[in-house]
């Protein structure tokens, strides 16, 4: 995975807040920049690809690491 230019840790927060926080973070980033979202809500593995598709950002992958999930998102050219 590419090195993220920003990481947010949403551990302990539950659906829908990991996505809400990711949306806020992406909004403040430059196109092409990568965001890493750390979450403990397993729903992120379902939510992040759908949110990226809806908002035209690129979902690079979501991986489980112990009790956490790591989700990588690249802000699209028209990503919102």
């Amino acid at each position: 995975m590419p090195a993220p230019c920003r990481t947010i840790d949403t551990s302990g927060r539950l659906c829908p807040f990991p996505i809400v926080e990711a949306a806020r973070a992406v909004k403040a980033m430059e196109s092409g920049a990568v965001l890493l979202v750390i979450a403990t809500d397993p729903g992120i593995a379902l939510d992040m690809p759908m949110w990226c598709k809806a908002t035209r950002n690129e979902h690079l992958g979501t991986f489980r690491e112990g009790e956490s999930w790591k989700s990588f998102v690249r802000k699209g050219a028209v990503g919102r």
């Binding site: 539950l14 659906c15 829908p16 996505i19 809400v20 949306a23 809500d41 397993p42 729903g43 379902l46 939510d47 690809p49 759908m50 949110w51 598709k53 809806a54 908002t55 035209r56 919102r80």
Partner: protein
């Protein structure tokens, strides 16, 4: 150059709002989907508790609908004190349970109006269907929702539009009324046929909503909190912590002064652990059993009763005596009790 028409779509991801989204999108209108977080969504709560009994995790249908139609979506949290106050003091009253659907819709429309103005959009649309719900989707209440939500003429219901007065965007030619629908009533056959026509194959089975407030058992617990506060001479009110606890565990009203909440699963036990401050925490010793919380100021008899009920839901329920630990701040006591065997008594206390 013609101006781009923009709209805010309130999307839950159910069949109706998914269709409304598609009907507006196919007219070339730019849509921003908004989905509201109220804290009362059954699917979200199911996810918070680790998913369904079979281990699967339900999808977030609003995200799915927006993703399928490639529409920008924003989650808006409205679960704060103003929303809770509206639930306790609804101007238009409750439906069959604790659901003040008209007030809730008005609340959402006011928020949608703010978003519409900030985003420079022309109108708001929803998946509401005339006559589908007995309280909030009657002709008169649809009108109230529009007026009180501050969206007069700017609230489009694409599925029933031809049965309702033309909205401003229709009159201005921003929306082609002839390409909207005239659906009414509780049957979903028209919607399913329309989904086929619009190429929408992936949608949740229509199930009449996913809101805890429409659930009878949840409503009993909801009103119990308000009634108990009133009986103690306190204000009828609800806070966010109440909302979380209302959807967690078995609830027993020991008296107007005291309530017992017993975890049903490991996830619920873990959730209750986050709400110990200000409450007593009960747990059987030596044998496995649930975590339980007691709210309020129980009498000595009520403490023992709570301990017996906690013992009854643990592995020691057949034992003659069970030790139950009572922790309250720095105070730790242990009670030796017989597990409560009187099911009728337990049922009479269950909220």
């Amino acid at each position: 150059m013609t101006r781009k028409v923009k709209a805010i779509g309130l999307v839950s991801g159910g069949l109706d709002s998914t269709l409304a989204l598609a009907l507006v999108r196919r007219q070339g209108i730019e849509v921003k989907a908004v989905t509201f977080y109220t804290g009362f969504c059954i699917t979200e709560t199911q996810r918070r508790k680790g998913g369904r009994p079979d281990g699967s995790i339900p999808r977030n249908e609003a995200l799915r609908a927006a993703a399928d139609q490639e529409v920008e979506i924003e989650y808006v949290d409205i679960s704060g004190p103003a929303y809770l106050d509206m639930l306790v003091h609804p101007r238009w009253g409750y439906g069959a349970n604790a659901n003040p659907c008209v007030d809730c819709r008005v609340f959402m429309m006011r928020k949608a109006k703010e978003i519409m103005e900030v985003e420079g959009c022309d109108f708001v649309f929803t998946g509401e269907v005339l006559g589908q719900r007995p309280k909030s989707q009657r002709r008169d209440t649809l009108r109230i929702i529009e007026r009180e939500g501050g969206l007069e003429g700017r609230l489009l219901r694409p599925l029933s539009a031809k049965l309702l007065p033309p909205t401003t965007p229709e009159q201005e030619g921003l929306v082609d009324r002839s390409r909207l629908e005239d659906i009414s009533g509780r049957s979903r056959h028209r919607q399913m046929a329309l989904a086929g026509e619009l190429g929408i194959g992936d949608y949740p089975q229509p199930a009449g909503g996913c809101c805890y407030l429409t659930d009878e058992s949840f409503a009993r617990k909801f009103f119990d909190v308000l009634d108990a506060r009133e009986a103690r001479g306190e204000e009828r009110r609800l806070d966010r912590e109440d909302v979380i606890l209302l959807s967690t565990g078995r609830h027993f009203r020991l008296s107007p002064r005291a309530k017992l909440v017993v975890g049903r699963t490991e996830v619920e036990n873990a959730l209750l652990e986050h709400h110990v401050p200000g409450r007593a925490r009960l747990e059987a010793q030596v044998v496995l059993g649930p975590i339980a919380l007691v709210e309020g100021t129980p009498t000595w008899e009520e403490r023992l009763l709570a301990a017996r009920i906690v013992a009854r839901y643990g592995k020691g329920k057949e034992s003659p005596r069970v030790t139950v630990e009572w922790r309250e701040g720095d105070l730790i006591e242990t009670y030796e009790v017989e597990p409560e065997q009187d099911e009728a008594r337990i049922e009479s206390l269950r909220i």
